[in-house]
């Protein structure tokens, strides 16, 4: 049994990349992006722990990276991007990052999103681009200690709304929220 929570990660950093050479460029900087569309790679930390780096491929050609506070990879990459490498286009990502975890997580998701997350294997490391109560989101199902949890990213202008709405559902389901106002 673990408590149902929705948590806003205010301290993580993000970077987006587009362009035909983005994957290759990233590799030259020591970061390997997954090859399958709509998938992510990275270490698998627990819901409460920080993850070093998540690298996601959105669609076929766009890349999205999240690094927890304390990491330096994204800073290094950003510096390198100032040289305007050919065929690599930086995408400003100031996403609001939320983590939904605990017992009843699927009940919460079922109230806000028309995707059958329960049937999805977390080992497949997919990224789901979908609408959640009217907002375009990225969702990464993850698993730690046999428990499912979900990372959710959205455009920061929708962040307060999505956080508060998810928070309200979570509280309704007996959970708590941190970093968002329910």
């Amino acid at each position: 049994m673990s408590l149902l929570t929705v948590h806003r990660q205010a301290d993580s950093c993000h970077l987006g990349l587009k362009g035909a050479s983005a994957t290759q460029w990233l590799a030259t900087h020591g970061v390997i992006a997954p090859t399958a569309p709509n998938s992510w790679s990275g270490a698998l930390p627990g819901p409460g722990e920080v993850e070093p780096l998540i690298v996601a491929r959105l669609g076929a050609s766009e890349l999205f990276l999240q690094e927890a506070a304390g990491g330096h990879t994204l800073e290094r990459l950003s510096q390198a991007l100032r040289n305007s490498p050919t065929g690599v286009y930086p995408v400003l990502r100031e996403d609001t990052a939320l983590v939904l975890a605990g017992d009843g997580v699927h009940d919460v998701l079922a109230q806000v999103c028309n995707i059958d997350f329960g049937a999805m294997s977390p080992e497949s490391r997919v990224i789901v681009m979908t609408l959640m109560i009217g907002v375009a989101v990225l969702v990464a199902p993850q698993v730690a200690a046999d428990e499912r949890y979900y990372r959710i990213w959205c455009d920061p202008s929708y962040g307060p709304y999505l956080g508060a709405s998810l928070g309200a559902v979570v509280v309704d389901c007996g959970g708590v929220c941190t970093g968002v106002s329910a």
Partner: protein, 92 residues
């Protein structure tokens, strides 16, 4: 609706972009041909090639959809819109 990028999704996740139509050459066409292109539509039900966008990913593609019964027959990458589109041999 089955998005070529994101797989099967509820239709609410998509925006409709109208029928795929071929623009006449603006330099050589007549006013009548141009206004026909701008305004007129093939409004009758049929299997039509249409623009659809998966909203959450901003991904545009072409769907062949029967507008009589809302059945999506096939989907194609957006590049198909630049090519000459022919419906598959056998339509359901």
């Amino acid at each position: 609706m089955v998005c070529p990028l994101n797989g099967p999704r509820p239709v609410l996740e998509f925006a409709y972009g109208g029928e795929v139509r071929t623009m006449p050459d603006p330099a050589s066409c007549s006013d009548a041909q141009w206004s026909d292109y701008v305004f007129n539509r093939s409004g009758s039900p049929a299997a039509k090639f249409e623009w659809w966008c998966h909203i959450a990913s901003g991904f545009w593609f072409v769907a062949l959809r029967d507008t009589l019964n809302d059945k999506v027959i096939a989907t194609y990458p957006a590049q198909a819109a630049r090519e000459r589109l022919e419906p598959p041999e056998s339509l359901p």
